[in-house]
């Protein structure tokens, strides 16, 4: 039963993207496409042939591996009371499956020799070199405060001391960044590098990649919602609250996204360094017992 949650959700994520398009359209005084548009897009892409710019197994497998790892991320997060796949220190596993996702995206991009994919890959990895440690700092603060590396037990045992509140704020920021919203969609920037790592993908492979990105985005949001909801709710109520939280966070993030221009990679990294510095201060606060 609980294993079904991630599967169902992977079918819902394109719908969520459709909602995002609708919201953006409304903000931009447009009518916008129907909510199902992302599904239509995916379906039509799935029908199309995937041009192979290079004979490479990694190029072909990468989208599927990305999808698999994004889905695995969903298996590691609590869904209300249940975690589909219980395992100790799962927040580390979550982070590293995220790394596998990035690795497969980047390896897919780098299996072609093109300036566009190489720039995209280089940007993606540059960002991860700063934002992953920032994520680690958040984990460190929460682990220090709760003595656990399990998402559910961290969420259930947090006290809202200043450092924890700070860590939550940082977590919201990092979720926004890692979910790839503008201004942090730098690695896939259309107008600069034609979609970066995705620029040589087409047809079905592209569809799977896009889908994987949506699932990954959902996984990041779902982690945040679990962290926000589980301290207060339990039982089936927690699951419902989590779903509501994810929707609310998603809508808020989409709205914020449409109010912004894209950063250049160095600007984003500077923000990341600031986040890292803020996290370090939080860590010191946490050590001090606050």
């Amino acid at each position: 039963m609980r294993e079904l949650f991630p599967l169902t959700v992977s079918l819902i994520t394109p719908l969520l993207d459709g909602v995002a398009r609708k919201i953006r359209a409304r903000i931009q005084d447009r009518i916008g496409p129907p909510v199902l548009q992302t599904w239509y897009d995916l379906l039509s892409l799935l029908e199309m042939e995937s041009i192979r710019p290079v004979e490479s197994a990694t190029f072909r497998i990468a989208p599927y591996l990305a999808f698999g790892s994004a889905l695995t991320m969903l298996f590691l997060i609590p869904w209300g009371e249940e975690t589909p796949l219980r395992t100790p220190a799962n927040v580390i596993a979550f982070l590293y499956f995220f790394t596998l996702f990035s690795a497969s995206v980047v390896m897919g991009g780098l299996s072609v020799r093109s300036s566009y994919t190489a720039s995209g890959a280089s940007r993606e990895i540059s960002l991860s070199m700063v934002f992953k440690p920032a994520f680690a700092v958040v984990i460190a603060v929460l682990a220090l405060k709760t003595g656990s590396l399990d998402i559910a037990s961290i969420a259930r045992s947090v006290d809202f001391s200043p450092s924890v509140v700070g860590a939550y704020i940082l977590l919201i920021y990092l979720t926004y960044v890692e979910a790839g919203f503008i201004p942090y969609d730098i690695a896939e920037a259309e107008t600069e590098i034609l979609g970066g790592v995705l620029s040589e993908y087409s047809g079905r492979a592209l569809a799977v990649f896009l889908w994987a990105f949506q699932v990954k985005r959902f996984a990041m949001l779902w982690l945040l919602s679990a962290m926000l909801v589980l301290p207060f709710a339990s039982g089936i109520g927690a699951l419902i609250l989590q779903s509501l939280a994810v929707l609310t966070i998603f809508v808020l993030m989409v709205v914020y996204e449409s109010m912004n221009a894209r950063y250049r990679v160095d600007q984003a990294l500077r923000k990341g360094a600031k986040a890292l510095a803020a996290g370090s201060i939080l860590l010191v606060l946490a050590f001090a017992g606050w």
């Binding site: 290079v54 695995t72 395992t87 590293y96 540059s126 700063v130 440690p133 656990s148 799977v208 160095d266």
Partner: protein
Amino acid sequence: MLSAYLFLLAVMVGLVKRNGKVVSAISAIASAAVLLEATGSIPQLSLQADELSRFFLLLLGTAGVAVSIYSYSYMRPKHLVTAAYPLFLLSMELILLSRDFLQFIAFWELMTLTSYVLIVANYTESATKRASLIYLVTMQALNTAPLLLALGYTYALFNTLSFETLKGNIPPAWVLWLFLVGFMTKAGIFPLHFWLPEAHPVAPSNVSALLSGVMLKMAVYGMLRVASIFPNTSTLATPIIILSMATIAIGALLMLVQRDLKRMIAYSSVDNLGYIFLAFGAYLALHGTLKTVALAALLLHSFNHMLFKNLLFMVSGNVLHATGRKDLGLRGLGRNMPFTFALSIIGILAVSGVPPLNGFVSKWLIYQATFLSRSPVLIAGGVIALFGSAVTLAAYLKMYRIFTGEPEGEVHEVEAPMLVGEGMLALLCVLLGVFPWLGIKLTGTDIGFEIDMPLLTIVLALFSGMLFIALPPRGRRDAVWTNGERVEDFDILPEHMYYPLNHISEGLSKVGSSAGKVLTRVGGAVTSVEVDYIDEALFLPPARLLRGMIALLRECPLGVMIVVLLLIASALIWGWLG
């Protein structure tokens, strides 16, 4: 002790016949014998060793088998290499079997000397000469000498050098520090790691593999041995943690700017030894379950590092063998070297700690030992470790790149034995990744919980695979879209990736370089040697000293030098014993 005799046989064959194939074959069998003896599968042959030695014997045996099979096709009989190779393995086995520090230090010295002979194999190249001299002098001055001093004083204090009888004694802190300095030098821990990225890349790749994969672990073993004997070793915990953090950061950042494949892998060894020493620091600092977790992490990461580092160095050997080049500007090798490509992907993902491969399991343990410790330095160490992990992936993607794209010239896949040797390690990387209990059981520790990797792997494989089977990518072959540019030009050069972070790393080495120049001018002692990296500038005093000695020793015949060093060593021993 069958394995020791087999190794000796190989040494003799190497001396007399100088046939690399026979020597490799016998070494492989001998290493297999080490494995058998260590696991005790044949009772008559089992060794008198404790758990700690047994684990490292397993590590040595596994590496020995894989690398020797690889060497069957790779090794070229050059000066004393054929004899030194089995002797090197044998010396390490004997280190692990030593029951007292006297044997230990004797075989340790043998290991250093044989490894020197192996490193200097391509002695016609000036880079090799320079690097191997740095290696030898560093080892004598900063590894052997401190160890001898420490042992001499220990003997003077307790009148014994046997592990058994020394146990529980409490030597003064400075003796422990001497041990630490000695083993840190061997392990390549900051600030004594400068010799490592010099020496490892110049050696033949099978030797580089053994150096990084096994010899560095001897230092880990040494430290663990010291910790198991002297209870007050735990006072060193905090300095070790701080130094290992610096090691991880420096190793990772400098890995990012390397243009030479083997040099990059060597810096990655510095980085990974940082992880191991971080776990060692945690082991010393913590109590209860987490201490066990730290020990498991330490041992398992040592083993895992051996697996993927040997694999990666051997893969770099494949590349060197096939193209004659080892710079990261290579492209398109994957087309003609599909097995090498596949093996290197496993190595890259494993070293980056990506699940479901073995690197992840030990890193997962390290994070638990650090993040859950509630100790400020350890938690900071965990954060640095995660940073190092992200940088490792970034650096190794450059290695991935050399296999992708359109081929630039004709290359051929290497011979089967090389691939078999690598394949064994790759298989173990996957096995230990998917079934973490295998590795944890290997370490002989009981941490009482484990990550459900089999299930996670199934989930991952199932969904990736099902989707791939249900919706396979179909389509035509077409050219890359380059706007009409030549495809070779339409790219980013490896050294320019990761803007603007590459500037930070480059800045680091530039700062090091200019600081080095300024200090050189101030010192005025040695002006002929250039300093290229910050690490070499940061611990300038020892480096300067060494370079000075190198300049002095350059004219000195090798034999004379070894004799002199041995004389000094024995004089020291007799001095303390007397």
